[in-house]
Amino acid sequence: MFFQQLITGLSIGGVYALIATGYSLVYSLLDFSNWAHGEVAMLGAYVAFMAISALNLPFLAAVVLGIAGAALISLFNERLAYRRIRHNKSPNMFLMIAAMGLSTTYQNAATLVFGAKFKQYPNVLPISSVSIGNLRIGVLDLVSLIITAVVLVVLIIVINKTKFGLNVRAIACNSQTADLLGIKVDKCIATVFLLAGALAGCAGILLGMKYNVYPTMGNVGVKAFIASVLGGLGSVPGAIVGALLLGVIETLASGYLSSGLRDLISFTLLIVILLVRPAGLMGVDVQEKA
C-alpha cells in the first residue's frame, strides 16, 4: 500500500517537476514568478487535444504539436510582454503582474473557445496496471514516470554540460556581465522560454491523459510554484526535488488522511519550510528571501 502510494506520488511529482523546472529556469534568469506558466501547460494540452479530435492526427504527432504549441506560446509571452517590460526598465514586480494578466487572459480565453467542460483524450495507453511483486502500478503512472525521468535528465545535462547551459548559468549569475562578455542575453532568454514552454506542454499532455483537459487545469502552476519554492527558487535540481516531495506528500495525505485536506497540508508545509529554512531545501540565494 505504502509503496504503491509512493509510486503514484512520484509520478504526479514528476509532472509537477516538468512545470517547476521551467518556473525555476525563468526565475533564475529574470527574478520573477511566471504565473502564466501553468496556463502554457494548459494550452499545450488543448493544442494536442484539438490536433487529435479536430484534425484526426495520430497521437504522437498530436503530442509533438502540443509541445511545439506550448513552446511557441511561452515564447510569445516573452516577446509580447516580458521583453518590453525589461527594456522599459520597469520594476520586477511588473513582470509578475503582466504574467498574472496573461494567465487570466489565457484561462478565460480557453473557457470561451473550448467551453468549461472536461475533455477526454482518447485512450492511447491501456488503463490496466502491471504487477511488480506485490505492487500494482498503473501503466499511465509508469509511462509518465519514465518520460519525466528521461526529460529531466536531458535537461540537467543540457544545463550543466553544454555551451547554452553555460550561457544560461552566466546570465542567471549576472546578466549585465554576461552581456559584456558577449552572450546574447535576449536570445538566450528567448530560448529558455521555448524550453520551459516545451517542458510545460509535455506536463500538460501528461496531466490531460491522467485527469482530462479543462480550462482551469493551469492552476497546477501554483503547485509547481510551491514545489520550486520548497526546493529553493531558481535552482533546477531544487525544483525537481521539491516537486517529487510535494507529489509524494500530497498522495500520502490524501491516501491516509483526507483528499479534502490535501492542499491544506501542502500549504502548511510550505509556510513551515519557508519559516524554518527561507532559502528552500536547496536554495542558492538567501539574501533575497529573508
Binding site: 517590460i85 514586480m93 494578466g101 487572459t105
Partner: protein, 306 residues
Amino acid sequence: MLNSFQQGVIILVCINVIAVLGMSVLTGFTRLFSFGNAGFMSIGAYASAMLSVRLGMPFIISMVFGAAFAGFIAYLLGSLTIRLKGDYFLITCLGFGESVRVLFNYTRGITGGAAGFAGIPGTTTATIAVVCAVLAFIIAWTFIHSKFGRNLTAIRENEMAADAVGINTFRYKRLSFVFSAVFAGWAGALFAHYMRFITPADFSLAKSCELITTTVIGGLGSLTGSVLGALLVTLLPELFRGLAEYRMFLYGVAVVVVILLKPDGLYGYREFSLKRTINWWRNLPNMIREKSAQRKQRREKRGESK
C-alpha cells in the same frame, strides 16, 4: 426610487471599493503583493455571519467584529511571514487564502461546508453600503496622508533607505497588511449580509486575482484611481450584459495592456483633483493648437530638407 437590481449593483460596487482600497494600501502604497485577500474577505464574512445568526448580534457589532477578526488573523500571519520577501511572501498569502477556503469547506459542522452558510439576515442596504464605502475612503485617505502612510510610501520607494532613516519596516509592513485585511474583512461582512448565503467558493483564488487586477488597472499608488478601477470593473459588466461572458478575459487583457503601455495604471501616482481636471479642459484647445503648430513646423522642415 431605485429598483432592487440597481440597489444590488450599488452595493456590489461599494463592497468592491472597500476591498480594493485595502488592496491599494497594501499593493499600491507598500508594494506588497497578496493573493490571500479573498481569504480575509471570507474570514470577515463567516465571522460576522456567525455572530449575527448564532448569537443574534446587531449588524453593526458583527460587522466590526468580522473586520477586526480578519485583521487579527492578518496580524498573526503577518508576524510570521512579513519578513519573507517578494515572491515568498506572495506564495504564503496565496497558500493562506486557499487554506482558509479548504478549511471552511472541511469544517462542515461549523461553517456548513461546501453547501454554504445560509440564513444570514439581509441587513446591507444601498444606503449602508454607500456610507461604509465613503467612510472606508476617508479612513484610507487619512491613513495614507498621515505619518504612517508616508512611512509606507518610503518603504515602497526603497526599503533599505527607509530602514536606514529609522522606520521599523517590519512593523509598518505588518500594519499595512493588517489594514488591508481589515478592509477585506469589512467588505466580506457587508457581502455576507447582502447575499444572505455564502459558500467558501465565493472567496476563491479568482476573487483575490480580481482584487489585484482592479488595483493594477486603477493605478498602483492612487486611492482615487483604485475607486475608479473598482467602479469600472464592477459596473462595465453590469452595463454591457452581453460582455459578461468576456469579463475576466477582458480584465486579463486590460492588465497586460496597462502594464505595457501605462505602467502606473489609470491614475498613476496622482490623486484625482477637480482643479487639475478643469485646468486640463481649459488648456485642451491650447494644447491642440500647439500640437498642430508643431506638426506643421515639422512638415515644413521636412519639405525644406527635400
